[in-house]
Assembly symmetry: C2
Homo-oligomer: 341 residues x 2
DNA sequence: TTTTAAAATGCAAGCGTTTACATATTCGAT
DNA sequence: ATCGAATATGTAAACGCTTGCATTTTAAAA
């Protein structure tokens, strides 16, 4: 019997150690269910043979992959990076591996990626935002794959999420801005189709306006895809209009930073001529000049909490519960009072 | 026979369609090896049952995971994000999924992550930089997992890489800087232990100095971990010394941007009092104020080429070949001539 | 010692695919 | 119609592991 096998299997280890495959398996997975003597023998064999378990076989037999998928709009910009990094680190502590896929902000690609990750046996999924085709949720349901939404917390949603209330967060910032006397305000928003986060942020501003007794029609909105350049272009458009705003909200820091650059290029002083407000408080915000006034989001905590919840769910069946995280406006250099020209 | 199975299997589909499992399998994997009639029947059954193949079983039977692992120092900052995004997008085109793991710049964690990814059945690995414990390469070898190094291209290395020559890239930038008359130069470097990229960049500056007839001892070096704050701190140290440099190189843009912020905080004018030079040309570089002079690296192309090479290797056994990408200095606002105080 | 419960180990049945190989079907040429 | 080659389909054996259950060993109690 000339075994020309390349990589050793459980069998080989078992044979070498003079025990059964079951024992080797237990020894590897539940070391304390095995005598020390046996364990030593087995471990020695494992070492000698250079054995390492076959993932596929393991998955199939255990019906678990210990993999959790995360589907984000993009890795390219910093917005999700920090939260994701924390998510991964925490997951790792619990013995899980993270699988990331990105959608480039396309609902279709997202659906595809979700299927792909489920197909790869992800034990659970981390999703950004609530708003997606019901079919997707149904699919997840029938496949028995639990999912957790993050980057959003909506009191009205039943589905579990670990995140923050985008609307309330933006409202509290907007309230401060309006208090400074800004009447002509604009918003450079991310695309709101299938993006509840963007939509909620927009509503938050309107909420604040209503509260301040200002007609919401005064809010001029430009929707644009994600990116620094896009933010710059939108800002240009805004400032070329006859009625220039005195404060420009941006759906996120990346857009804001683009707007800021454009202001510089156009010779518009910030915050003297116009205030610019971001959202997220990513590193960019502090580096920008002037440093960006923005809404701070606890990205790392969010990632970490999501990981803990998901791990508990998969490992011990602990049902997913929603967790609301708090945000707060941080005032830096780009926000100022309205100044009479 | 009351099948209370949650998810349908190949068997169920086969039964429903009235064919064998083999046919279903072929139908799914090689649609053209099956009659149209049969295919329709099968596809219908697949649809009705909501079948989706079991990853583990597939892996085990096919001995391939179609997964390629990428191990990077960190996701948190933008340096690797762009390249990784491109890597993933390209991989996807070829039917592969990317698995990311991050090491927090720790060699130990890297080793662990490599083992973890191999354990999960990664068909190949993407690694950053050449410099790591030979044991790791040996491990990869015995496991038969091909690996490709990126973010570096070293003419002296035999292992395949898709990247750029860090040393030459930095040298060409340094040459320009020296030409501007800078004599007192400093470098805020990333930690060079097990980081050939950092080390090579450092050497590149020294090369330029030698060529310019300047003693390399004139280069004052501070090594610091990765981060904006770290860059700021290092810069502070440098500028508090009796002999202040007139030009400060930074191992990467993140450090540079930290230095830049610190300069602003200290009231040091850039580039009038001191020039600051980055490396990578990430988005941050354009947003910084003044915009950062830095070395442009074709991150997206790098990720893309790496993906293509790896996919070809795994799919068709095309041996990995090294590819050198070119970089170039980009001059923006933070570099100026030495100015007599 | 003997008895008994608990702990350790072994046995063997899956887990859901893929893929040689065997068998059946189709179709064009005779 | 008949035959053969080509094409389509079916059969069944892996693939390497986990785990419920049966069996053996160990250790504590009597």
């Amino acid at each position: 019997m000339n075994k020309t096998r390349i990589t050793p299997t459980l069998h080989d280890v078992a044979a070498k150690a003079g025990v059964s495959t079951a024992t080797v398996s237990r020894c590897l997975n539940f070391p304390d269910r095995v005598t020390e003597r046996t364990r030593n023998k087995v471990m020695a064999a494992v070492k000698v043979l250079g054995y390492s378990p076959n993932f596929g076989a393991k998955v199939m037999a255990a019906r678990r992959t210990n993999t959790i998928g995360a589907i984000i709009p993009t890795m390219e910009n910093a917005i999700f990076a920090r939260g994701l990094q924390a998510f991964q680190e925490e997951l790792r502590q619990h013995g899980f591996t993270m699988l990331v896929a990105s959608t480039s902000y396309s609902a279709d690609i997202e659906a595809e990626q979700i299927r792909a990750l489920v197909g790869r046996g992800a034990d659970a999924l981390l999703l950004i935002g609530h708003d997606r085709d019901p079919d997707i949720y149904e699919f997840l349901e029938t496949q028995g794959v639990p999912s957790l939404v993050t980057w959003a917390f909506d009191p009205n949603e039943t589905r579990p999420s670990v995140g923050f209330d985008n609307r309330a967060a933006m409202q509290s910032m907007a309230t401060e801005v309006l208090r400074l006397g800004h009447k002509k305000v604009a918003l450079i928003s991310a695309m709101t189709a299938r993006n509840d986060r963007a939509l909620e942020r927009c509503k938050g501003i309107q909420d604040a306006m209503v509260l301040a007794g200002q007609p919401t029609e005064d809010l001029k909105i430009i929707e644009t895809p994600y990116g620094i350049e896009e933010g710059a272009d939108a800002f240009k458009l805004l400032m070329q209009a006859p009625e220039k705003p005195t404060a420009v909200f941006c759906g996120n820091d990346v857009l804001a930073v683009g707007a800021l650059r454009q202001a510089r290029d156009m010779g518009i002083r910030v915050p003297d001529d116009v205030s610019i407000i971001g959202f997220d408080d990513i590193e960019l915000a502090q580096i920008a000049y002037p440093p960006l006034t923005t809404v701070h989001v606890p990205h790392r905590e969010m990632g970490q909490r999501a990981a803990i919840a998901l791990a508990a769910m998969v490992t011990d069946g602990v049902p997913l519960k929603s967790i609301e995280l708090s945000t707060h406006p941080v005032f830096r250099g780009t926000l100022g009072p309205v100044c009479a020209k």
